[in-house]
Amino acid sequence: MSKLKKLTGRTLFLPIFCMLLVMCANIIYDAACGNFALNFFTISIQNGVLYGRLIDILNRGSEIAILAVGMTLVVSASAGTDISVGSVMSLAASFCCMLLAGFGVSSTNELQMPLIVGLLAGVLMGCLCGTFNGFLVAYLDIQPMVATLILYSAARAIGLLLCNNLIVYIRNDSYAVLGKFIGPVPTPILVAAACVIIALIVLKKTALGLYIQSVGINKRASRIAGLNSRKIILMCYIVCGLCAGIAGLVNSSRITSADSNNIGLSYELDAILAVALGGNSLGGGKFNLIGSIIGAYTIQAITTTLLAVGVSTDVAPVYKAIIVIIIVAVQAPAVKDYFSRQSAKRAAAKARG
């Protein structure tokens, strides 16, 4: 009993537990269908690239993982979520493609400027959006949900304007660089890995983690202790925008086009869910980046599994919603209280004999 409690008390318990649950579901499903039971874990090489359900999850989950990095920091520092990331993904992609193709052009084989300039511009656009959000939250003290609602609705539309209401296709192999393969490995996996590793190193080597958590837990006390709470919150939103920008470009590169209406659609929900699944409190404060990343891939695993099981894309959100409800409920203080009381009661009863 006490061992179980110790285990469930660990920070990474929730995300790892969920991940294992999804894996088990896969094994059982495969076994029940008479497939090879470990289908889920099989990785093979076909046509010179890695292939398998696991690889697919890692690949498709890249965008969520990248977004989760920024979202984790935002949640921690400001006790709120950035709901504009999906729209910002779309805007970053549209801006990049518009620059590469030229305004008003819907399809191009020739790049109008060096690829790297376009990509950087896209990422910068993400940062710009992050700065806007951060300014509203940190300096004007607007609630994060309300502040980011502005770009949630506006960013996608701005992207559409930039693309002159067109879907811009970049029919040039170089643009596919972020979405295809490097050697046998899908590039998105590498991009996500790079983002996560850089974030982890920065958090390990600087005092940033301490600063962010401190501000997230007690803004006033942090200020007295010499932290610039506003600057730190602003920075978290900028990083979040940056991540959204990168994720947008990866997504756009997969389809070598900027489809303003569809890129990043409802990704903000997955990103927020990843953070919650990672065992992070949405009330801010302490965070665990690794947890969020595991959470991100778990969500993708759920989505992929649902599709594999034959649930249609339209109904999949229903199942996701159920999972969200369970997770949020488990985290709720009232429920936690109830369980700790129950176990205390049991312990008391035991003590009495």
Partner: protein
């Protein structure tokens, strides 16, 4: 149950991870008595109270309440309230973003005939409650607009206003000064006469002897004993709490008549002010000097200090530090000039609840070093251990979350945070709030030692004796204005007279 007894707790035990907070503790409260619950920081006083009110779940033992048959187990403060036990916790736990009136009536709002909240009655009743305590505030304002002391009074007023058999006051006087304390005592005596049993926790020994009838002493989670007040004079009480003889009143201030006016000036402020809190003031402090700020509740002691530190931005005047003119826009700038501020509101402005003791201690030093110069872990551990040892912080480990420490120990951690930055100038706003007698003396000694090393210190305390023992000069404040300084004749009577305003006008 004996006649006369309203509450008995028998054999209460409770364990937190790594700490046996209560070990087989008995406690008895009689009708119409004021019962002091005493003990060092971390002795288990608050824990015992929380076991009673259902915030902590105790492992073994029984609680009996007069008029209720069978053992009582409460599940929440509200639950306890229904059984006639109302509580003022150590840390004010009201809602800062609700109005004073709402806070007073939360959970028991007066209703109109159709079942909605009767705002008019609520406001009127609140006004009356506040007026009875002669506290002059606007009850429709949000609670957060008022000082900690007022908030504490409101918490008390709320608890007292409820019909109850048992009233629990856990360090209610920690941020009150003599006037408010006296008001509280009048109230307590009145309730006692009505037959209410009152549990009173405090670290001010004089207050115990002023109102209490009986004392229960805890040490390290164990019961030392229960004594009628006559049988436990001050020296014996201190010995019972600490488990050894100790004279907390021994003179610690050596009568040195250092003339600080010759020492170099550290701070020279002219005409600083902050709208709404403190009117323009001049202030000087020399190196190695300890200056006290004194005045009634809301006189602007805290506010003056905050302006010097840049926690509230000044709107006028000039400030020189070490002879150089400076402009301080934020605390970090003050820190880089060698300043530090131990704030009076520990919960709101001191502790970072969910961080460990180690992280709380190194926070200010790390902020000063900047984000890129992370203190290596070995160094962090060294610093944390140093201050845990020096200030005798009672904690399960250095990685324990600060919110799991007892109130007094949290205070020590924050003090450690500032000592770790090795400041030239330290503002201590109620540094001994909630700290037990033994450690209080240690802190006073520490202040004098720092001064001897050439550091300048502002000392703010609602306890005048404490300031008399450490300060060489005092600035007097009244109604948000600095009205004078006392350099000669630092005695209790003189200072009191100055504070009240009789002396100068």
């Amino acid at each position: 149950m004996e006649k006369n007894v309203v509450l008995t707790m028998r054999g209460i035990s409770m364990t937190f991870p790594g700490v046996k907070a209560l070990d087989n503790v008995d406690f008895t409260l009689r009708k119409g008595e004021i019962h002091a619950l005493m003990g060092e920081n971390g002795a288990g006083k608050s824990t015992l109270i929380k076991c009673l009110t259902g915030i902590n779940a105790f492992e073994s033992g029984e609680i009996h309440v007069d008029g209720i048959s069978g053992p009582v187990v409460n599940h929440s403060t509200l639950d306890a309230q229904k059984k006639g036990i109302s509580t003022v916790y150590q840390e004010v736990n009201l809602c800062p973003n609700l109005s004073v009136a709402e806070n007073l009536f939360i959970g028991r709002e007066p209703k109109t005939r159709i079942g909605t909240i009767d705002w008019k009655t609520m406001t009127k009743k609140s006004q009356k409650i506040m007026k009875d305590l002669s506290i002059d505030i606007d009850v429709t304002q949000n609670l957060e607009n008022y000082s900690l002391a007022i908030q504490q009074m409101i918490a008390i007023a709320r608890a007292v206003d409820m019909e109850s058999k048992v009233l629990i006051l856990d360090e209610p006087t920690s941020s009150l000064d003599d006037n408010e304390v006296e008001k509280l005592f009048v109230l307590m005596r009145r309730l006692r006469a009505q037959g209410v049993g009152i549990i009173f926790v405090t670290h001010f020994l004089e207050q115990v002897y002023a109102v209490c009838d009986r004392i229960t002493v805890l040490r390290n989670g164990q019961l030392v004993g229960e004594y009628p007040i006559e049988e436990l004079p001050r020296v014996k009480l201190v010995a019972a709490m600490m488990g050894k003889d100790f004279d907390d009143l021994a003179a610690i201030k050596t009568e040195d008549k250092t003339d600080y006016s010759k020492a170099p000036l550290y701070i020279e402020a002219k005409g600083l002010s902050h709208k709404g809190t403190i009117k323009p003031f001049d202030f000087e402090i020399h190196k190695g000097e300890v200056v006290g700020l004194t005045g009634l509740l809301g006189s602007g002691r805290t506010e003056l200090a905050r302006v010097l530190y840049g926690a509230d931005k000044t709107q006028s005047g000039t400030m020189k530090v070490n002879g150089k003119e400076v402009k301080i826009n934020a605390p970090i700038e003050a820190m880089n000039l060698g300043m530090g501020l131990l704030p009076d509101d520990r919960k709101a402005e001191g502790i970072i609840q969910d961080l460990s003791v180690r992280e709380n201690i190194i926070l200010a030093l790390q902020a000063k070093r900047g984000v890129f110069k992370l203190l290596p872990m070995s160094k962090q551990i060294e610093i944390a251990d140093k201050y845990i040892e020096l200030l005798q912080i009672k904690t399960a480990s250095r990685e324990t979350l600060i919110k799991q420490l007892s109130g007094g120990n949290q205070q020590k951690v924050i003090l450690g945070r500032w000592l770790a930055t090795d400041p030239e100038f330290l503002i201590l706003d109620e540094p001994t709030r909630g700290i037990d007698v033994g450690t209080k003396t240690e802190i006073q000694k520490l202040v004098l030692k720092l001064a001897k090393e050439g550091k300048s210190i502002i000392f703010i305390s609602s306890e005048i004796e404490e300031m008399l023992r450490t300060c060489s000069r005092m600035a007097v404040l009244r109604d948000g204005q600095k009205v004078g300084e006392i350099t000669e004749d630092l005695t209790q009577q003189h200072v009191m007279a100055e504070i009240a305003g009789g002396g100068s006008k």
